[in-house]
């Protein structure tokens, strides 16, 4: 991932003042301090994130119920992957649900959040109030969002059924529960996206906008010629955030029914294979690796954008 970004960021970060001092060697003590400052945090990340990531890949080629020691592992090659694709019933539904999740997040809350940001960025009475209303759900945990929406979705006590006289178990019925969960997610996701775009729109040059107005540009022209270009780098960041969020989605379906019966998601399947009674570590790892591979592509994109910005 890192090979795509060969130029160190600092060289151009502050072109005038930052001509960093020529490489004077630090005194021995300072050098030891610098090494320690990097080493301890790096150790944390390497031991707790990167080593497990590699071990996930290794374990995915074995069969292990987790009870015995490591030498109990039988190496089975790519059998776990073959099994996942061929004979693991929840896998394809999970993939499908993750994809629906992704498309929905884009077409629903992401576009809405973008729209809200563009409107609220204007001089508008009560803009602060509206912003607060939209991003208040962002501070709540997704698990909590699941509970709060249960007050709408419950079959016997939920508001929706009481208002419409229906008898749908919105969280339980496998033909609708994915959509119920998605609406709850959207409630939280919209404000987050709005916030990101609002921050980005602060970068729109006001004088450009005024000049456009003086020249008689229409609102539409102003938006597409002046505002939208500013939003382009943010679009990419948002794209990556949305993809990664949809891939990671877990909390909501776990609190509803542990990711079963219409709510299968890859993240939940991994957990089911590890913390359940019948632990299948190799199998769970193979699922995890599939997740990791998909996310790696988007992490790489993200890092590229970030580092390109950095160099500017």
């Amino acid at each position: 991932m890192t090979t795509t970004t060969p130029v160190p960021a600092e060289t151009t970060a502050e072109p005038v003042t930052a001509a960093q001092p020529p490489k004077r060697r630090l005194p021995a003590r300072d050098r030891a301090v610098v090494i320690t400052m990097i080493l301890i945090p790096t150790l944390f990340v390497v031991v707790l994130v990167w080593v497990p990531a590699i071990l996930s890949v290794v374990l995915s080629f074995g069969a292990w119920n987790g009870i015995g020691d490591v030498d109990q592992i039988q190496w089975v090659g790519t059998k776990n992957y073959a099994d996942i694709v061929d004979i693991y019933p929840p896998f394809w539904p999970a993939i499908q649900h993750n994809l629906i999740w992704l498309v929905f997040l884009f077409l629903g809350p992401t576009l809405l959040g973008m729209f809200l940001a563009v409107v609220l960025d204007r001089n508008m009475r009560g803009s602060r109030f509206y912003q607060t209303a939209f991003y208040m759900p962002v501070v709540l945990s997704l698990a909590l969002v699941g509970f709060i929406w249960q007050l709408f979705y419950s079959r016997d006590q939920g508001l929706i059924n009481q208002v419409f006289g229906s008898e749908v178990d919105w969280y339980g019925d496998s033909s609708v529960n994915l959509w119920a969960v998605l609406v709850a997610t959207a409630w939280r996701h919209t404000g987050y996206i709005m916030l990101i775009y609002l921050a980005g729109l602060k970068g729109v040059d006001a004088s450009l906008r005024e000049a456009a107005a003086v020249d008689g540009a229409s609102e539409r022209q102003t938006f597409f010629r002046i505002v939208f270009p500013v939003m382009r780098p943010i679009n990419m960041i948002v794209l990556v955030i949305v993809v990664i969020e949809s891939l990671r989605a877990f909390d909501l379906v776990w609190v509803v029914n542990r990711g079963t019966n219409g709510l299968e998601l890859i993240g939940a399947l991994v957990a089911q294979n590890v913390v359940g009674e019948a632990a299948r570590y190799g199998f769970g790892s193979a699922l995890a690796v599939i997740m990791m591979l998909i996310s790696t592509v988007f992490i790489a994109i993200y890092l590229r954008i970030v580092f390109r910005e950095e160099r500017r």
């Binding site: 600092e10 003042t17 071990l55 209303a133 249960q150 007050l151 006590q157």
Partner: protein
């Protein structure tokens, strides 16, 4: 975004020309439409929380008899029952035990890396940043098996963990939270530190200040605004963290932080929805207070990371 580079952080806020209040006014008819649409949407957005608060103050007997669409049956009893029966106090303390050290440690460790990244230009800087940032974005589920198993193998003395292993202890949970959150904080802090004028370090060097002093006495006080913003954000995130707490403290329901505990308690104690509402409101309260009191910090923290500066 590039404008922040030339100014010290202290002057940031004044940089924006004061006459530009957001993106310019809308003309009258558009303005009216926009206001109506926004007002309707905002009310829609506030409604779920409002509904939870409303029903948390109503007695179950009343809502059962008259349906939830009725008005009346006001009571504080749900809160009393939730607090006493479900022992919520204990879980709030657990959340505190996890959140405070995790946030402090995250900020401290990432400020160390951020300082080195911002202060020196080593060839490995970009790689290092990538190592941290990518770790932040990996799906936690992808690491579950090895982390779970590793934690089960690592023994801890009993006074540190009743289970005798890292699994089921706060130490493990705090460590994993720190490891996951460091990427974001390192990134934000190093960007912020890069906006500090380089001359202050040259001066410090002439004065013979050691690297540690440059970090602790010179840089850290100057990045306080960024630290405050990040702290606010991290407190909410770690308080809200659900996945690791649920799986790593799995067998130890007593040790759950409040967010995971609520899920556990649902079947046992929250038999009706008025109680569940009261429980939800109580769990939401700390983050909502943080949000309203430190709104500016919270927003600043989020936006610092998503777009630079």
């Amino acid at each position: 975004m590039s404008t922040t580079l030339e100014a010290a952080p202290g002057r940031r806020r004044t940089q924006k020309p004061p006459e530009r209040a957001e993106g310019g006014a809308l003309n009258a008819p558009r303005g009216t439409i926009a206001t109506v649409v926004m007002a309707v949407l905002a009310l829609l957005w506030l409604f779920p929380l409002f509904w939870a608060v409303l029903n948390s103050f109503r007695s179950y007997a009343y809502t059962q008899a008259n349906g939830y669409l009725s008005i009346g049956g006001w009571t504080l009893d749900n809160y009393r029952r939730v607090w006493e029966n479900a022992d919520l106090g204990k879980y709030f303390v657990n959340s505190l035990i996890i959140t405070v050290p995790a946030v402090v440690l995250t900020l401290f460790l990432s400020s160390l890396v951020a300082f080195v990244l911002a202060r020196f230009s080593y060839r490995f800087n970009l790689t290092l940043l990538a190592v941290f940032l990518a770790a932040n974005l990996l799906p936690p589920q992808a690491l579950l098996v090895p982390v779970y198993r590793m934690f089960r193998e690592i023994p801890l003395p009993l006074f540190m963990s009743e289970t005798g292993t890292l699994l089921g202890s706060y130490w493990g949970l705090i460590a994993i939270n720190v490891a996951f959150q460091m990427g974001f904080c390192t990134f934000v802090l190093s960007n912020y530190m890069k906006t500090l004028p380089h001359e202050i370090y040259e001066q410090a060097q002439i004065d013979g200040a050691s690297v540690w002093r440059q970090y602790w006495q010179l840089t850290m006080p100057l990045v306080r605004p960024a630290l405050a913003a990040l702290a606010t954000l991290q407190v909410t995130w770690i308080y809200n963290e659900f996945f690791w707490a649920t799986v790593l403290l799995g067998g130890q329901g007593d040790k759950f932080p409040i967010t995971s505990a609520l899920n556990n308690l649902r079947g046992q104690f929250f038999v009706d929805y008025n109680l569940l509402s009261a429980g939800s409101v109580l769990v939401a309260l700390p983050v909502l207070i943080v949000f309203f009191v430190l709104q500016k910090q919270f927003v600043a923290g989020l936006t610092l990371g998503s777009t630079k500066g």
